[in-house]
């Protein structure tokens, strides 16, 4: 009984600040701003107005997740299998920097770095890699993907590198003895053993990217844009909580699909 009392304030807090607003958003999405009868008019309106943005959001977040996965495995793989000690040490020092840089700061960094006259184009033209006239702004969907990948790869790489460090080295050594290349060892021996950690990292990143407002707002708020921007816009300009919450429910669903996929996979793994 005493234990429950000690946990009670924390539970009340979650109830008030998460469970209640969450329920509120569901009710508001299926009614007229929390009043009247139940209907799906908010959803038809949301699809009618924002179908392009819904697709855009799914594509951006999926693409970013895929690139983050590949880069994180590559970085962690080199940290685990790399033979040149100096290179491994440099990489270890290098890759973590964006880890604790807030999203809003990352967005500001990229806003100036990727602009048409930004530092990236300046360096590319100065070094003769591209013609000055070919310089273009990356502040569109590419900018969002680059920012997401820049910010989230270190997080997944850190998790994956930790998991790779703790796997049994004998399988790797066996692969080596049989003459498998390092790439093959990584893909066929190492990655399957850390798949769960990789998935957890990627799912967390996916949800985080789905809920970030500052990055799309600061890098690409034109159409098409991400659902978070649409939600903020619906509320700040129209006070339309119904449609905003319908969009919110969709972003819950995108999260739900991934979570369901993960649970099914991990149950299968446990059953095997």
């Amino acid at each position: 009984m005493g234990a429950i009392l000690l946990v009670a304030p924390a539970l009340l807090m979650i109830g008030f600040l998460f469970v209640y607003p969450f329920g509120y958003s569901v009710v508001s999405a299926f009614t007229d701003n929390g009043e009247g009868s139940w209907h799906i008019a908010n959803f038809t309106k949301a699809v009618e107005f924002y179908s392009k943005d819904i697709l855009f959001t799914i594509v951006i977040v999926s693409l970013s997740t895929a690139i983050i996965g590949i880069l994180a495995v590559a970085i962690a793989g080199y940290l685990t299998l790399g033979e040149n000690k100096t290179a491994v040490a440099i990489l270890k020092w290098l890759y973590r920097w964006p880890l604790f840089i807030p999203f809003i700061v990352s967005a500001q960094l990229m806003r100036t770095f990727l602009a048409k006259n930004g530092m990236m184009n300046n360096i590319l033209t100065s070094s003769g890699i591209i013609e000055p006239l070919a310089a273009q702004s990356y502040l569109d969907w590419r900018g969002i993907v680059i920012t997401f990948v820049w910010k989230q790869t270190p997080f997944v790489a850190l998790l994956v590198a930790g998991a790779m460090a703790s796997i049994d080295r004998t399988t790797i050594d066996a692969g080596r003895i049989f003459g498998a290349s390092r790439l093959r060892i990584l893909i066929e021996l190492v990655v399957p053993q850390i798949a769960t950690t990789l998935m957890v990292g990627l799912i967390l990143s996916y949800v985080v990217m789905l809920s970030v407002l500052s990055v799309p707002l600061m890098i690409n708020a034109q159409s098409p844009t991400m659902l978070t921007v649409d939600m903020a816009w619906r509320i700040n300009s129209y006070g339309d909580y119904g449609v905003a919450n319908a969009l919110g429910i969709m972003s819950y669903l995108f999260t739900g699909v991934v979570a369901w996929f993960y649970l099914r996979q991990s149950l299968k793994d446990k059953g095997a």
Partner: protein
Amino acid sequence: MVQATLSSNWVRMTTRVLTMSLLAFAIFGPITNMLLWAVAEVWYFPYKLPLEYGFSFWERVFRPEGNATEALFSSIWIALLTVVVSLGIAIPAGYALARGKMPFRYLIMLLFLLPQAFPAVAVHMNVARIFYGLDLTGTVMGVVLVHASQGLVFAVWIATAAFAAVDGELEAAARNMGAGRWRTFIDVTLPLALPGIMASAIFVFLISMDEFTGTYFVGAPDVVTLPMLLFTSSMEGNYQIASISSLILLVPSVGFMLFIERFLKADVLAKVGS
């Protein structure tokens, strides 16, 4: 034969150096760009580097009536209050979850994860609406509560892990010597769990310092934190102010990254989430 090995070694070496340089450019390029903006007095197209360097924008940001000083102080004040609220709730909860025989323990732990596991915008806009009815929008308390809901999972999970890592036999020894339950907690358990609790305090502090979405919905335009100032100055094209605010936000974050291993001991890390 020797020649071939040498040249293949050379190719390997070059690829390694090239890849590392490319990665270094990708990571430090945007950061350098921000550092340049933070000290640029005059910088416009087509010039590739600032025309004049100086600190006049810093002076403007840090003069007492400048809004950045105010934003910095309100950020720090809100972050400190968020730490107090979160830890005040997380320490008893963490102790109970680590020690007590709790029904549905797993489910309760999972519940604290939910605010992180669902898209934040969708929840925060409704929090703002509920707060509006309670006169909490535009207040420091409202912003602190929103920040605490985001930080709670770290506070509770790390505090639970920290208490779980405390050797139960030491507590039993204190009890045998005649110390009461409360005395044992204050003199034995809490000091032993302190490094872990410090780590969770730092986590919560940083989350609050960096939080944007909740402040945007609940606090704006009355409560201006550093991220809010960064956002408005960036949208207005005032890159100097935006870069200086970014830099101020970066210092605690990067500092924490460099010291995280000191605060989060391996035995605590191993118990997080278990």
